[in-house]
Assembly symmetry: C2
Homo-oligomer: 236 residues x 2
DNA sequence: GCGATGCTTCGGCCATCGCCGTAACGTACG
DNA sequence: CGTACGTTACGGCGATGGCCGAAGCATCGC
């Protein structure tokens, strides 16, 4: 079967440490320059360039020119999902390694981070739990939905999901929503279009902001108030 | 971040052609011997043995001894999901290759096959479409549910999903169900616990049977009658 | 026991590929 | 138009790792 060769090609591209680091850095959904990616991968710019060319040809990442810079980003959400699923398997394998040696950066990542286009970490799980507890959502490892009252609730906050509902072939009272199992909490949280909308809203209203150039995000004072007031979520 | 190294390790394991072939062969959920896997991968037994040892150590596959044979199978459903997601990305990249050169084996695979623990191919998609059309299920790329009437319908056929419903923390009228986007049809079909139950039922009642040692399955005459009578599905 | 089968380990060969040096190219900016 | 910066192309080095031949263990059948 020819598809096996393609499969191996994609997996091998993701399997090189330098390329994996670059893909990891792009997991926040932003676009980075070749030089930035070279730095995070710990290789020389010319080495990074070669990697980027190969991954671009394979459709893993996409290139967009802007002035004299060339910005690279993950080509499709499918690539982000692929990486999530590999990380899930890698996390299963993690135990043999030490767990306690988490630096401050890891601590920030566990607290709150973006997972391509949605929020993850303690924050992401807490928000999902709050929605489930309030009867606004149902969620397990296989699938999730936002209930009719959940759509109204999120709408009252200013997150409009009617567009997503209208896109469904048969107008139903709820919205299907993709769950995402992340490596730090080992529990599902909101992903897909709904998670993306919630994340975008959080950034737009200054509830969270990015920490330097990583995937980690910081919860602003305003965000603490909003997450507690709207969702009943309080994070130490 | 240490998790990047683990990520690369897992992806690299999946990225070797020989290992990818073995993993592919195990995607039907069965357990195969080291010799069988060596044959499908096209390498000598001793080479296969090394690959299998590495993948077992990494937690990708599991070993169960049985007499003088050693049977290998995918370690967890998470590994199968990882492979599905890689195949999805690989399929996006496929266009540059020729599409028409599908041999009889590929044709059988496209018609009906198992995808780890559930049915895929034309058959899998047709069954999912039939359930959606009958109001028994809702399904999109992000998530899926089996409706209350769907639970009753499947129950009337003999597929009991009450256990799955009872497992849910809050007893609801429906069951969340994982969708799976497969490479040949490019459309979602039923996976997860529900897809697994439907597949198991189909095998148990002789509706489908495996074709030699591949992932492809053949629909029996009895199966044609059942799929048409129960689901309204008719496949040429 | 003895041979046969299935699997694993060891040793050495070979190819692939990641890496960086140097150098050339193209595009913005002064 | 020249400089500077970012990116790409080429060549050679080095190491990782896949591959098989041969030999060593284990298990089953006679």
């Amino acid at each position: 079967m020819a598809s096996t060769a393609l499969f191996a090609e994609i997996a091998a591209l993701a399997g090189d440490p330098a390329r994996a680091g670059m893909l990891h850095a792009l997991m926040d959904g932003r676009a980075l320059t070749a030089t930035e990616l070279a730095r995070v991968a710990g290789v020389a710019p010319q080495t990074a360039s070669g990697h980027l060319a190969r991954m671009t040809a394979a459709g893993l990442i996409a290139l967009q020119r802007q002035g004299r810079h060339r910005y690279f980003r993950l080509a499709t959400p499918a690539v982000a999902r692929m990486m999530e699923s590999i990380m899930e398997v890698a996390a299963d394998h993690a135990p043999p390694r030490r767990r306690f040696a988490v630096g401050p950066r890891d601590a920030a990542l566990r607290k709150a981070r973006t997972c391509y286009d949605h929020l993850a970490g303690e924050l992401g799980v807490a928000l999902a739990d709050a929605l489930v507890a309030g009867g606004y959502a149902e969620l397990d490892a296989e699938a999730g939905i936002i209930t009719a009252t959940g759509i109204d609730f999120l709408g009252s906050i200013g997150i409009d999901l009617e567009a997503a509902r209208a896109r469904r072939p048969r107008a139903t009272a709820h919205i299907l929503c993709r769950p995402c199992l992340d490596w730090s909490e080992r529990r599902p949280h909101l992903a897909g279009n709904v998670g993306k909308a919630l994340c975008a809203h959080s950034f737009a209203h200054g509830w969270v902001r990015r920490i330097d150039g990583t995937r980690a995000v910081a919860i602003t004072p305003k965000g603490h108030r909003a997450f507690h007031g709207e969702f009943g979520v309080r994070l130490g």
